[in-house]
Symmetry: C2
Subunit: 349 residues, 2 copies
Amino acid sequence: MADARKARPTPLQPNMSDVARHAGVAIGTVSNTLNNPEKVREPTRLRVQASIEALGFVRNDAARSLAAGSSNTVGIVLVDMGNSFFVDIARGAEATLREQGMNLLIANSDIEIEKQLSNLEVFEQARVAGIILAPLDPHITNSLVSKAVSRPLVLVNYAAEDARYAGVVADEHYGGYIAAQHLISLGRKNLVFAGGPIKLQAVAERLAGAGQAVSETPGTVLTLIETTGMNISHGRTAGSRIAAQDACVDGVVAASDLLAIGIIQVLEQQAGRRIPEDVAVVGYDNNHFASESTTPVTTISQPGEDMGRAAAELLLAEIRGEDEGGRSTIVLRPHLITRASTVATRNRV
Amino acid sequence: MADARKARPTPLQPNMSDVARHAGVAIGTVSNTLNNPEKVREPTRLRVQASIEALGFVRNDAARSLAAGSSNTVGIVLVDMGNSFFVDIARGAEATLREQGMNLLIANSDIEIEKQLSNLEVFEQARVAGIILAPLDPHITNSLVSKAVSRPLVLVNYAAEDARYAGVVADEHYGGYIAAQHLISLGRKNLVFAGGPIKLQAVAERLAGAGQAVSETPGTVLTLIETTGMNISHGRTAGSRIAAQDACVDGVVAASDLLAIGIIQVLEQQAGRRIPEDVAVVGYDNNHFASESTTPVTTISQPGEDMGRAAAELLLAEIRGEDEGGRSTIVLRPHLITRASTVATRNRV
DNA sequence: TGCCTCGAATGAAGCGCTTCAAAAGAACCA
DNA sequence: TGGTTCTTTTGAAGCGCTTCATTCGAGGCA
């Protein structure tokens, strides 16, 4: 079985022919043991597996994907790893891919367009099987074409303008709708929508959704307070403007949790309004600290993990060529998480 | 120049010989243009580069690292992508690596030991140039050996027990020290250290550091309140116990920001203490919401990005074989970020 | 016993790149 | 012009794997 071993100085990393020699089989049999075990008779397979164990063989993925002409890795390009929404997407995608025996590479763009493009190029060089992209701006598809991204690609968070790529997005309209609906169901009548700039498509849709809920319920009104951004400081500005309103506002839909927190701070501490008794506030995104702030914020939770899962499934279908004749866009619904900023609880601190 | 082109049906992805043919040079020249431009005369190089552009050639990384026997990618295995500390480490490492023309692959372990091991194996298969590992527990090095991780590896956040691997850690003792020192410099005398379980090495060291600061200053005392965890709810429990103390506590060092937030909530809202006038509170970690909570929390900021940078540098040295005879452990100091929970500000909301 | 069939095992070819010994060119001097 | 030296270019070999046409061998049947 063990014939004259060729002079191989230090087999630091044993390769397939080392395994084949050790097991007394041909190299093709080792390959089949790994990739098509049903084609190898049991005794042979066991012998090969024992040799793999004995030598501590780990298959060289570079060689594998070079020879096979395809990789078992997909890449995801995130807008910002500091944002838990995107981290959730990655988590969801990873779970689905792992079930299918594929690996996920995560790249972070840090909200910089150059990094995003460079990350795409890295994946392109790595010849990943496919790419999940959270585009930095909705017009990115043009840049993609120029970057010659020629492999299966699925967008998350923005739909493609043309139908060139499949995509997964959240139903922003519905999110705005259930936020307002929640306030209305609590008996609130004089609502404010705070968010902006309105030219952001997501904000506009949330506003439209809230508007629909109000228009469906006689006796309720919705006022828009447009902000220039979505941070706590913008929230404070919005809070002052809400406090200054003539009409007595009793419900606020904020387009982000940070906005909501800023608004709550000003209303409680400067305007002397009680939250939620006088004013109920709903945020958006389910940021980590929405639940951790002094007054935990009722929020619309983005379906991040589900979006990641759906994106991974679309991508797998595309990789396998099962995407029958069309790039679909999947729309997932967010859901409401009720906390103390809209509903007083016994055990509230 | 363009001789009879071999029948190549669809050059979907042009390769190096396509480029060579197009530019009228040998394939080795194309390779040199990419990897050793100084070895190619300028006119030739420009011609090759033009052809690369014209054909939209992207080098196949799998083939490259197979032929070269080394990859230009390093992998980082994070404990938890949901924790901004680890995200910062990745960010820092990425910055340093990118400067050196290397790429960073991020893998998330989601606090699960199996995922951590599986991620290590993926990197092993990918034959990455090196690995940065944030181990889930300090004893992981044993598992590493059994997983036959045989490539350059640097630990972050935990030092190796033996001197087998280089590492980067934060100076927890110093962090505890400056936290207590800050309170003392504000004239606080009756301090509490809240955190736990004490068997966690990091907590024990922070406590020791705080103890040292107190022992250096006559007239100050430090009481330990051990918690069973480090979340907001544990903080609330600790807060109640602080409120119940006989002596009038005027300063608290909390071992995490969440703990600090819970303590602040109870002291302010249930015990009627003013923050920071009656009690000043310092947290730890600079969690995102430490600055976003109603009372922004003074905190000890972990040097996450710096740790990532340092880890990447150690790893690069090891990859290049410059790690003269020893695995060093680098200790980086955290720093204090002063906010409203210890110092009253004019513009406090 | 001889022939046929079919599942199992074989191993050469080739994936796209880097390397490096060898060939070709350029530059210079006598 | 020929010889020498140095620079630039060439292209075959080989990295470790997958693939697949080919070969092997066991079993069934006449």
